[in-house]
């Protein structure tokens, strides 16, 4: 196997010009004789640092990473639009870069004329375009409109034409930067088919996408970039998993911060403040009026709420990201001012749409309160979290049986559920599929 793309120790530094210089005028630059020196940057930040990898001939190589991690810069450097500040890039064969579809289209002239000019820009000769013209138009499904000015096209038509021209350059190396997000379902399938055809014909494909499913499905190898550096490279599945783990960490941090803000905002006891709507029990309130809030007399105070997974010990800080099927424990640290004889604890889970996925309390489940004094902990244990992927909000409450609130936290706490299965609905009942022997299905890959 030979190498199609070789990237060795590539560094690209973007330059930022300070405000002071931006507001300087040409006149002062000329008068001060500092024209060329003013064009020098005074602030630099790396977009790529020491990136090294190579792509084998005929393989499909995916690059993943968060927004702003340097993916697009890397593609620009590989396609030659940007030059690396140090290091080398070598590409064997003709490149076609689908970085932005239809970038060179002129709105006033017809689709036909744009195909020619775009094709020439992408490196085709007039002859080659003539030969491929019909195929391009057919692929773009624009037979009727090809002689209309491009400005009359819908954005979908525009993208289709752009994709059609770029793909018909018939490159040895195809660079795709998240362009499959455009177009309707049918066209996306067509594009994917075309890309598969490229793979069959042993062409090299470099793919940047946020569709991790696509990476696992199509790529032979994947590269994960973050903060301008290569984090991991190798088997797509492994790389995607590592990337997802990092994403979870970041989300976790964001959730913690959001929760701290929410709790801090409503922390001050508002004993004078009666709730606007009497809360008789923890019931799903209107889906449209779920604002964060905290109220109650604080005779029993919920001092801290944490979520714990199965592996976390009781002293752990808790976590905010769970997988479907994982065990989750909601821990309420409570403290009462005196000895209380009438009390109920409740928990409810709402999804991001404000729909109550589940809500219960000790009274509904017929626990009889006897006494409560001092500090303690209430644990609400869910052995198997049967929720689909998404963000969920937690209501927790301590109140009297008649609804008189001690401490009610509405939507102050949130967590995220991750799932590899993109199922839909409100919750995920435990289930399995069974088939009679005449129905043959391959079971899913156990690793996923």
């Amino acid at each position: 196997m030979t190498t199609a793309i070789q990237v060795s120790d590539v560094t690209k530094v973007y330059q930022r010009y300070s405000h002071r210089k931006q507001f300087r005028t040409l006149k002062s630059a000329l008068l001060g004789g500092s024209l060329l020196s003013d064009l020098r940057p005074d602030e630099r930040f790396p977009a790529l640092s020491g990136v090294t990898f190579n792509v084998r001939h005929g393989s499909t190589f995916a690059i993943i990473g968060r927004n702003g991690s340097g993916k697009s810069t890397l593609l620009k450097v590989i396609s030659g639009i940007a030059k690396p500040d140090s290091g080398t890039v070598s590409v064997d064969g003709r490149i076609s870069a689908l970085i932005e579809l239809g970038a060179g289209f002129h709105p006033e002239i017809t689709g036909r004329e744009n195909i020619f000019i775009n094709g020439i820009m992408l490196g085709l000769t007039k002859r080659e375009i003539e030969d491929r013209f019909d195929a391009i138009v057919e692929f773009a499904e624009l037979e009727e409109f090809i002689d209309a000015p491009v400005k009359t096209y819908s954005s979908g038509m525009y993208m289709r034409l752009g994709f059609a021209v770029a793909i018909h350059v018939d490159p040895d190396v195809l660079i795709i930067d998240e362009v499959l997000a455009v177009g309707d379902e049918a066209f996306v399938h067509k594009c994917l088919d075309k890309i598969s055809e490229f793979r069959r014909r042993n062409k090299t494909i470099l793919l940047v996408t946020h569709s991790l499913g696509l990476v696992e499905k199509m790529a032979d190898e994947a590269l994960w970039i973050d903060k301008s550096e290569v984090q991991l490279r190798g088997d797509p599945k492994k790389v995607v998993d590592a990337y997802l783990a990092r994403v979870s960490q970041h989300e976790e941090k964001a959730l913690v911060a959001a929760e701290e803000r929410a709790v801090a905002e409503f922390d001050a006891p508002e004993s004078a403040n009666e709730p606007e709507t009497p809360v008789s029990e923890i019931e799903p309130t209107s889906a449209f009026a779920r604002e964060k809030g905290r109220w109650g007399s604080r005779e029993v105070e919920i001092q801290d709420v944490s979520l714990r997974g199965a592996e976390d010990s009781a002293d752990g800080r808790g976590k905010h990201i769970f997988s479907t099927g994982e065990s989750v424990t909601v821990c309420l640290n409570i403290k009462s001012t005196g000895t209380i004889k009438d009390f109920v604890f409740g928990v409810a889970i709402f999804n991001a749409d404000g729909i109550c996925c589940y809500g219960t309390n000790t009274d509904l489940e017929d626990f009889k309160p006897v006494t409560l004094s001092g500090e303690g902990e209430v644990r609400f244990v869910i052995p198997k979290l049967q929720l689909i992927e998404g963000t969920y909000f937690l209501d927790v409450a301590a109140h009297q049986r008649d609804g008189y609130p001690f401490d009610y936290h509405r939507a102050l706490h949130q967590f995220r559920v991750q799932s590899r299965v993109k199922d839909v609905g409100v919750y995920r009942p435990s289930h399995q599929w069974e088939f009679t022997p005449n129905i043959v299905m391959r079971p899913p890959d156990p690793s996923s």
Partner: protein, 280 residues
Amino acid sequence: MKRAQGDGRLGVFQVTRIPLLKNLLAVFRYRVLVQSLVVRELKARYRGSVLGFLWSFINPLLQLVIYWFVFSYIMPTRGLLGTSPYALFLFTGILPWTWFSASVMESSAVLITGGNLIKKILFPAEVLPIVVVLSNLVHFFLGLPILFAFLIYYGKVHWTLVFFPAVVLLQLVFTLGVCLFISALAVHFRDVQNIIANVMMLWFFGSPVIYSYLTISPSIQRYLNYNPMTHIIVGYHQSLFTGTMGHWPWLLVMIPATLITFLVGYYFFDKLRETFAEEV
């Protein structure tokens, strides 16, 4: 098939600067693109108008009619030395001047409006200002039949016509140099776009378009001689209108002068080339 190093397009490119001349050759390789972009400019300009390409003839004709009217009836000129008929004299200079000033003004915005191309497609950025100059050149050429028709009508056909292509060539080289410089400068100093119209106005009056070079006092002529457009416009006047090439020594000086302008403009453009993709 490994491409040669420093090919300028694909293949191995090093941090080392690609020499100026190599880039110039790369532009030559993109001539088909330049050609089709010029055609696109011209097509796009008149797309949707009823008269279409005819506008390229009608506009200069209307311009000529206006000059004729103004200088025959509103403010009749005193038949200054060698400028009669004045409307035709004016037209002889104003056609090439329009080519020059429109090119410079358009090129001050061309890299910014074409920023999408520079950022997303791999092609040499100088194509854009070059296309501006060439499509305005085509407009200039389309105005020529009107000019020649009236020159013939007034019996102004001289042997000095053979110098006309040379003057056009001088202006082309000079305009390219100025436009490359201005387009690159405007990327970093957007001020250029605002000031350029006034600069061109000043430049217009500093070139003998509405007056004759020969009627100016020598003390002012001395300053005008520093302006290459002075000699280029005089070149048009003499080769087409008066039929005397008394200005030829100055035009000889213009050969190196315009070449140097071009090289300086291109050098500046080339120096800043790599900043375009980030700045536009």
